[in-house]
């Protein structure tokens, strides 16, 4: 079993707001992320797949295919978008880095044929990232 990781970057804006919370609760829980005018990040995404190395090609996965899937399923939907307003997963869910990692996992999981999705890592900042392994 070999693990392969592909990186890519996207930029998006968001804000944190739970309509069930009062204004004070939103401010207390989410701090400056609660600003309804939104703010943005340069996200770094690392997608790790695992599988056996194909003896004919020497590949775990064809990187060209993986890149196309990432572009189509993730980057086109998220890059230079407002997560709360343009990405359906976040119409009723807060676009935290945790939920973003889960959403990206769900977008990719069924699209990978040869290799198996192992981990989605999303960096919101160089000092903050979330890993999702598909755990319930």
């Amino acid at each position: 079993m070999v693990y392969l990781t592909r990186k890519c970057e996207f930029s998006a804006s968001h804000y944190y707001h739970n309509p069930e919370f009062t204004a004070e609760e939103n401010q207390r829980v989410f701090g400056k992320c609660a600003n309804l005018n939104g703010h943005g990040h340069n996200y770094m995404l690392e997608v790790t797949v695992k599988g056996d190395v194909d003896p004919k090609t020497g590949f775990v996965v064809d990187l060209k295919e993986l890149k196309e899937i990432l572009n189509r399923e993730v980057l086109e939907a998220l890059d230079h978008r407002h997560l709360n307003r343009e990405v359906p997963e976040f119409f009723a869910q807060i676009p935290t880095t945790e939920n973003l990692a889960i959403a990206i996992w769900n977008r990719l999981q069924d699209k990978l044929k040869v290799a198996k999705l192992h981990r989605v890592r999303v960096y919101e900042l160089p000092d903050l990232f979330v890993d999702f392994y598909g755990e319930a």
């Binding site: 701090g31 807060i94 676009p95 880095t97 945790e98 939920n99 903050l128 990232f129 890993d131």
Partner: protein, 140 residues
């Protein structure tokens, strides 16, 4: 859904690698320039990984404000700009980064209430890092 969140912190500290049970020659042979009697220092980068169910109301594993406050209080304030050798945590252990990782993990395991501690990863320099998860195997 269970997610794993990692936050990175930095602190600076000095140390000297020296084992009293070994001779001077042996200390020098094993620890090399890290055995310099006057000590030396590093900018350590600490990554703390916590995990848990993503709270449906907040979208969070744990509030970063709480995590930052706990790590600052328990680790950064304790070790930043300190000499590790004179601290009680290293009264009976050489302050290698292996031992420092274990010390930090054990302190956080006891004191961190905001979330479940998965592991710590400690970079001594840009070229080396150490991970400790309480003795359990690390996930690839």
């Amino acid at each position: 859904m269970k997610a794993h969140l990692t936050r990175r912190y930095v602190f600076s500290a000095s140390h000297r690698l020296h084992c009293d049970e070994l001779s001077e020659v042996e200390n020098r042979a094993i620890y090399g320039k890290c055995n310099n009697p006057y000590g030396h220092g590093h900018n350590y980068a600490l990554e703390v990984t916590v995990s848990g169910q993503v709270n449906p109301q907040t979208g969070m594993v744990c509030n970063l404000v709480d995590l930052d406050a706990a790590v600052r209080r328990e680790i950064i304030d304790r070790f930043d700009h300190e000499n590790l050798n004179v601290r009680q945590e290293f009264a009976a252990a050489v302050p290698t980064t292996e031992n420092l990782s274990e010390v930090i993990f054990n302190i956080l395991k006891q004191r961190l209430t905001a979330a479940h501690l998965d592991k710590v990863r400690l970079e001594e320099t840009m070229m080396n890092s150490f991970e400790y998860a309480g003795g359990v195997e690390l996930r690839p």
